[in-house]
């Protein structure tokens, strides 16, 4: 069996399950078992999505900007924090527990406070995205740094490497797989985080639009936005995956090798 064909067949069950759910949804709404004002038919949702597409895109621009800025700042902060915490053990001991605690605070609970402090503009939204995306990346990087073999560092030192060289040649590459695992989660958090913070105040954005159509009881439009957000999140995760593959060519080789062994 060729690799390509195998790839497609391995995804068949997931595609079938998804099709089944959509079919079930279609039957439930079309036959009237669930009334249309509670669950709009998928056909109506697609119609709403097509009809509203220009306006959704307009709101999406703001939301994606917030997600992008927030994620970028989150990555930079995570990188600095994880590197410092890896370098100075005392910082790790001091801040790791606090980081865990901050993760138990629900996003929806701090969003109103942020709006209160920063107003209705982009600032509170970006801040919320930073808060939600920062943690998975930091933890990913920390674990990645720690995964380095002690002997590898000794060998580098024996070869006369400086601390910076060890960091560059050994630690950063070792942390890449976990960094990307964290980034993949964070990328989807970023969009959702931006939307949630828009629910609680703002003038433009997918969250604002959602609140508006909800208040108008236009559930088909609301579902259209939800599906749009899902697609955007999936696209972002796919983008992260592509970047991961391009920046870690050796992983692709290893994965291929493992598959060959299994065959």
């Amino acid at each position: 069996m060729t690799k390509r064909l195998q790839n497609i067949t391995s995804k068949l069950p997931a595609a079938a399950a998804l099709a089944l759910i959509v079919l079930l949804w279609f039957i439930l709404s079309e036959t009237g078992i669930v009334p249309g004002y509670m669950l709009p038919s998928p056909v109506d949702v697609v119609k709403a999505l097509i009809g509203d597409f220009p306006i959704i895109m307009e709101h999406a621009r703001t939301t994606l900007q917030e997600a992008f800025y927030g994620l970028s700042i989150g990555i930079i902060l995570a990188f600095i924090t994880a590197t410092l915490m890896d370098h100075f053990l005392i910082l790790n001991r001091a801040f790791y527990p606090i980081m865990i605690i901050t993760q138990t605070i629900p996003t929806i609970a701090i969003a109103p406070v942020l709006v209160l402090w920063m107003g209705f503009g982009m600032a509170p939204k970006i801040t919320l995205v930073v808060i939600t995306t920062f943690f998975p990346i930091t933890v990913g990087l920390l674990d990645g740094y720690k995964s380095v073999d002690r002997d590898s560092i000794d060998l580098m030192r024996a070869m006369g490497a400086t601390k910076l060289q060890i960091f560059w040649h050994v630690k950063i590459p070792a942390a890449m797989p976990q960094f990307f695992a964290g980034l993949k989660i964070s990328a989807s958090y970023a969009v959702v985080g931006a939307v949630i913070s828009e629910w609680l105040g703002g003038f433009v954005g997918l969250g604002v639009y959602m609140t508006r159509v909800k208040q108008a009881y236009a559930f088909d439009k609301m579902f259209a936005v939800i599906i749009f957000i899902v697609v955007i999140s999936l696209l972002l995760m796919a983008v992260v995956n592509v970047i991961r593959r391009v920046s870690m060519p050796w992983m692709a080789v290893e994965e291929r090798g493992e598959k060959d062994e299994k065959e």
Binding site: L155, R157, A158, M159, G160
Partner: protein, 252 residues
Amino acid sequence: MTLLKAEHITKKYSGRTIIEDISIDLQEGELVSLLGVSGAGKTTLFHVLSGLVAPEEGRVLLSGEDITAKPGRISYMMQKDLLLPHKKIIDNVSLPLVLKGEKKKDAREKADPLFEEFGLEGTQYQYPSQLSGGMRQRAALLRTYLSSDGVALLDEPFSALDTITKSNIHRWYLDVMEHINLSTLFITHDIDEAILLSDRIYILNGRPGRITEEIVIEEKKPRQADFNLSDAFFRYKREIIGRLALEEEQEK
């Protein structure tokens, strides 16, 4: 000419003496083995010689220069190959040159001609995960060679390999050593390996570890791979086993 000399090395870890008053030397072009049971402090001695840790007493001299606790002068190969998974083989082996400030391209150009010598031709642009265990050890040895100024410490480099691969790599190793100039200190707990490869053998015994014996293997080099089936070989082996057993009795 004496290349490497260790004088009266004593090393303690958290109050416990691991090695005590160890003095050894390595002449140019020699291969000298440190043979001893596990826990005799062989690896600790290598950590001191390579400069990774400072000894409580004693000093390490490289061609007369004091290099105690100064890493980066003597190359060190560990039991694991420790090739970096994200670098191609050529970048792995030329890493020591890059660390010394050479450009990646220049380092590659210097490493490339040696691939044939080390039986690694064609693997330059592969990743370590694509190589077999024996090939990875060869690459690790090439890296060790490129990072050395002529002196290398090899810490049980072949012990993780299966017997057949190991005997192949011994033959290969003896062959490579004919062509390159690398004075080597070699840790092993494999008596056969020590006799087969060494010019001299230090026997390291006890807790704390001390040098208790020095045995010269007179057999000329290049040695044939069937040296380990000769009478001379077994005489050496009997002698070494006797020494090791004697030491154990004295311990009691």
